[in-house]
């Protein structure tokens, strides 16, 4: 009597309100996830569709490698903008990466717990500052500084330049890269450090031969994620980089990165039909590059989790 009565009881309860709520949670969760994933795909397809008319007019090599940007004459060579984006991003990374590695190693391996907590808190605040504010600081401080520097080195510059863009961008990605790097370094298990220290290694030897070796994939991922973020950053760079459609040849030359091109011009010259398509194609490049870098980084980040477990 008891067992069968019990079973009856359970089945009738599960087919009640709990069961419906459970199903609802499952279905709505799935739906949201599908929508989010579909959104990425939709944006990509949308960009592709809007950019497509351009390729009826110009060849892919003209599009990527021609320097003539004359929308009025239907010439849409993106080369200056691609070079602008790549060089301002690379410059930012060259400045930021050594700083970030040093800071992350100090915070993770040397600093006391309290100092680390305070520093991470400040870094999180820095990372959350809206990019316009970085841009303003760039205009007020960095641009005059670069102008001064340029004068010293005998080149005529307004200060609105590749160098100013690189500096502002570096300052912006530094908290982001430090934050991930510290996280990665803390993933290295403490007993491993203990092993090296117990053999009489100094802290620095432990960092150099053991911790960095164990964390190198993750740190690379931090740098790549930083690169992806810098690559797509728009506002702050746009404000200080000068925005002249030419291939920059010196640090003091103005540059014109892809995001700035889109932000400055979209919706303005709608009278030229292909302009729209050209800007969409620029957006497509941005999306592909940033997406590829992010995916690579997450793939390598996952890898470090595996090696730490083994």
């Amino acid at each position: 009597m008891m067992p069968s009565g019990n079973k009856q009881f359970i089945i009738s309860r599960l087919s009640g309100g709990r069961r419906i709520r459970e199903a609802l949670a499952l279905v709505s969760g799935r739906l949201v996830l599908i929508l989010i994933n579909a959104l990425a795909l939709l944006i990509f397809c949308g960009l592709l569709w809007k950019a497509a008319p351009l390729f009826g007019i110009i060849s892919v090599s003209d599009w990527l490698f021609s320097s003539s940007w004359h929308p009025m004459k239907n010439q849409f060579g993106l080369f200056p903008f691609i070079v602008g984006t790549v060089s301002v991003t690379l410059l930012a990374m060259i400045i930021a990466v050594p700083v970030c590695l040093g800071a992350a190693i100090y915070l993770s391996e040397y600093a006391g717990r309290r100092f680390r907590e305070i520093a991470r808190w400040l870094i999180d605040i820095l990372a959350g500052i809206p990019s316009v504010i970085y841009g303003l600081c760039g205009v007020l401080v960095i641009v005059p500084f670069v102008a001064f520097l340029g004068e010293l080195m005998g080149s005529t510059t307004t200060g609105y330049s590749l160098l100013a863009g690189g500096l502002v961008l570096a300052v912006m990605v530094i908290p982001f890269i430090i934050s991930i790097s510290v996280e990665v370094l803390r993933m290295v298990p403490d007993p491993l450090r203990e092993c090296a220290l117990a053999l009489g290694a100094t802290r620095w030897e432990t960092v150099k031969y053991v911790v960095l070796k164990k964390a190198k994939r993750g740190l690379l991922a931090a740098v790549v994620l930083g690169f992806a973020r810098a690559f797509g950053e728009t506002m702050a760079v746009l404000m200080v980089v000068g925005n002249v459609a030419q291939v920059p040849v010196s640090l003091f030359d103005p540059a014109y990165p892809l995001p700035a091109l889109i932000a400055n011009n979209y919706g303005e010259v709608m009278s030229i039909p292909l302009y729209d398509a050209a800007l969409m194609s620029a957006a497509l490049i941005l999306m592909l590059v940033v997406g590829a870098f992010s995916l690579t980084a997450h793939y390598t980040l996952l890898k470090i989790g595996e090696t730490v477990d083994s």
């Binding site: 491993l192 090296a196 117990a198 053999l199 031969y209 053991v210 090696t307």
Partner: protein, 257 residues
């Protein structure tokens, strides 16, 4: 041979006392087992002897531990030198992220050991050094053909013997071992125990274990801790046959664990 004397050692983590007034003289060239219920301060006592405790930020240590008469908690003490003389074998092996060969060569390299710096044939000297310590740890025959593989590829039993070779490679005088067989299968555990018996000819080995049978098998001298107090310490034969304290009797008979 380094001689260890512990005097009025007190250790606490923050406001939580872990060891209370420990006074102990470690006999040389023996296997000394520190036993006691979990949480009684065994590992803390062990790690206090080469200052691995320093890695814990909240820890405070008073009293002294004399190594050949010199207090290792003296601020002037060079911790890397201390750790070279008092080696540590951890509970789990954690191979360093490098090859089997480099794991053993790591210690000699950072300390610039005499064999390497003096002899002109550096590479050859290093090779024979690595072979020597791998043999000493009873691992050589299993790894001699794959020295350049990552150490992480070894089985955990092999990794633990690699860790032993790694400790031996810095030519310590004392070896501290923190439950060195607890993560191992019975066969590997037996191999490690056998190595210990061979090694006590030349080293003082201090071993933390929670396995009473292991202490019986291996130890020459027993140190029994209970709730941070040193209850009893004496030669193993006497300890097991004629314990003085009621807590010891209860622990040996399995009433407390």
């Amino acid at each position: 041979m380094a001689h260890i004397q512990i005097q009025q050692l007190r250790v606490s983590y923050g406001s939580l006392p872990v060891l209370n007034d420990i006074n102990l003289e470690i006999p040389d060239r023996q296997i000394v087992a520190i036993i006691g219920p979990s949480g009684c301060g065994k590992t803390t006592l062990l790690k206090s002897m080469n200052r691995l405790l320093d890695l814990n930020e909240d820890v405070s240590v008073t009293g002294s531990i004399l190594l050949d008469g010199v207090n290792i908690y003296d601020p002037a003490m060079d911790v890397t030198c201390l750790r070279k003389r008092v080696g540590f074998l951890p509970q789990r092996p954690y191979p360093l992220p490098m090859s089997i060969f480099e794991n053993v060569a790591f210690g000699p390299r950072i300390h610039g050991l005499s064999v390497l710096s003096a002899g002109g044939g550096g590479k050859q000297a290093e090779k024979s050094l690595v072979e020597h310590y791998l043999r000493l740890a009873g691992l050589w025959d299993e790894v001699k053909d794959r020295l350049d593989e990552p150490a992480a590829k070894l089985s955990i039993g092999q990794q633990q013997r690699l860790a032993l070779a790694r400790v031996l490679s810095i030519e310590p005088e004392v070896i501290l071992a923190d439950e060195p067989t607890s993560a191992l299968d019975p066969v590997s555990a037996k191999l490690v125990e056998t190595q210990f018996k061979l090694l006590k000819e030349n080293y003082t080995i201090i071993l933390v274990t929670h396995i009473l049978r292991q202490a019986r098998r291996l130890a020459d001298y027993i140190v029994f801790l209970y709730m941070g107090d040193l209850i009893e310490h004496k030669p193993a034969a006497v300890f097991f046959s004629a314990p003085d304290d009621e807590k010891t009797k209860a622990y040996i008979s399995g009433e407390i664990s």
